[in-house]
């Protein structure tokens, strides 16, 4: 991806997720733009670039919210690696399987965070969190991410976001 695309993502990821996505909220559940973006970057670029992008976006999220510094950076970095390998070996942008894979990535991220909190702080109501928050959020994120992928899978949008060398590939 172009450097300016990454800069724009880092600059607006928090405001877009926190304010523009609020009207999309259904019963308090809203899609997670950060993991959807990292998944898309992974499919388009590869594991290394997606991992670094995931870490950078995660760090900005950690600083901008009240998370422990490095928590989202780690989970989004891992998601970037996973999506990068999927893009290289298994999936293409147009595959409908992206809904399932992206939802699984989102669910995994939620589970890792919950397990971490349970391990270090205890008393997390794991089952209720899974049913009422993590699963609906993962499905919603999967659908949103696939919609974004469809939108980006147009030549003019791609050329706006991607480096020329990657477009040739």
């Amino acid at each position: 991806m172009k450097t300016r695309t990454y800069l724009a993502i880092l600059l607006v990821i928090i405001p877009v997720q926190a304010s523009l996505f609020s009207p999309l909220s259904l019963a308090g559940i809203k899609p997670d733009l950060a993991i959807a973006l990292i998944y898309i970057i992974g499919l388009l670029t590869g594991p290394t670039e997606a991992c670094l992008a995931g870490m950078a976006v995660g760090l900005v999220q950690d600083i901008g919210s009240a998370s422990l510094l490095g928590m989202n950076a780690t989970t989004l970095g891992l998601a970037g690696v996973g999506a990068g390998y999927l893009g290289r070996r298994v999936l293409d942008i147009a595959s409908p399987m992206n809904v399932i894979f992206l939802a699984s990535f989102s669910l995994m991220q939620g589970l890792v965070i919950s397990l971490f909190l349970q391990t270090f702080y205890g008393a997390v109501p794991f089952f209720s969190l899974l049913i009422t928050r993590l699963v609906p959020e993962a499905v919603y994120t999967g659908l949103l991410g696939t919609f974004l992928l469809r939108f980006m899978n147009r030549r003019n949008v791609m050329s706006l976001l991607m480096r020329r060398s990657l477009l040739k590939e």
Partner: protein, 268 residues
């Protein structure tokens, strides 16, 4: 060996980065959260959030004030009735307050300080899956400072974590980093309420303490942030384990945190 490292340099760099991140997270579990670069990031995101939400707020306000006037008359009647009821309640409460002040004076207790507050609009919520925060459109210019209590008529919302001119970040009571001194309203049992993403958990409650589902938890005032007696959460699950000296109590916040639009920040 060096050839292997050079061939897989990218992989080793990524592994090293992950190790640094993991160390950073575990370090903060012991030492407390690092607040590196928080001010600049809040300033930039707060600016964009105000810009992004301005059209929605404008349209919402215009719709409420000029377009949806159909139910205004009915709403007016309902509000008049509500006002009469609240006036009556207020006069009774004032009587009780005067009596309370008089009795405090007789007993030699310190005088109650009146609360002052600033109303702020919520412009952004939940920017990360591992925390629960929101951004409001008022900050230091309106007298809002770090660690001030944030409430609504229904109860406690959280406390101010960072405040800048024109914007402030509020740590919701469901955030994993939030702790709050509370008391069970029914029997005055005390405990520490910790955020657990969507719910809260009451910690350090004795195994033998009488806590039941449906009990209301109110602020105890012991943390010096929240005034005493504000509703915080309702107990939804109590489980006792023979192996520990404490019981696990899960509570649901009294305020619907996902639907908040305006909040009060207690400035005194």
């Amino acid at each position: 060996m060096p050839g292997f490292i050079v061939r897989h340099a990218k992989l080793f760099i990524l592994l090293a980065l992950f190790l640094v991140m993991f160390w950073l997270v575990t370090f903060q579990v012991k030492a407390g959260r690092l607040t590196f670069m928080e001010g600049p990031v809040l300033a930039i995101s707060g600016f964009f959030e105000r810009v992004f939400t301005a059209p929605f707020r404008f349209v919402g306000s215009a719709a409420n004030h000029y377009v949806f006037l159909v139910r205004t008359s009915r709403e007016n009647d309902r509000l008049k009735q509500e006002l009469d009821r609240l006036r009556l309640e207020n006069s009774i409460t004032n009587e009780l307050l005067i009596e309370n002040e008089r009795l405090r004076e007789v007993l030699g207790f310190a005088k109650l300080r009146p609360l002052s507050s600033v109303m702020a609009q919520v412009i952004a919520k939940d920017s990360s899956p591992s925390s629960r925060t929101m951004i409001v459109d008022h900050g230091t210019t309106h007298g809002i400072e770090k660690d001030m209590a944030v409430i609504t008529a229904a109860g406690v919302v959280g406390k101010v974590q960072t405040s800048l001119p024109g914007t402030a970040k509020v740590l919701l009571l469901t955030d994993p980093g939030s702790t709050l001194a509370v008391r069970v309203q029914r029997n005055r049992e005390e405990g520490l309420l910790e955020g657990k993403l969507d719910r809260c958990a009451l910690k350090y409650v004795s195994y033998y303490a009488d806590i039941q589902e449906g009990d209301l938890l109110v602020t105890s005032g012991l943390d010096g942030i929240y005034p005493k007696g504000l509703p915080v959460a309702t107990v939804v699950k109590v489980s006792k384990h023979e192996a520990t000296a404490f019981q696990t109590v899960i509570a649901k916040p009294a305020v619907g945190l996902s639907r908040l639009e305006e909040v009060l920040v207690l400035t005194k």
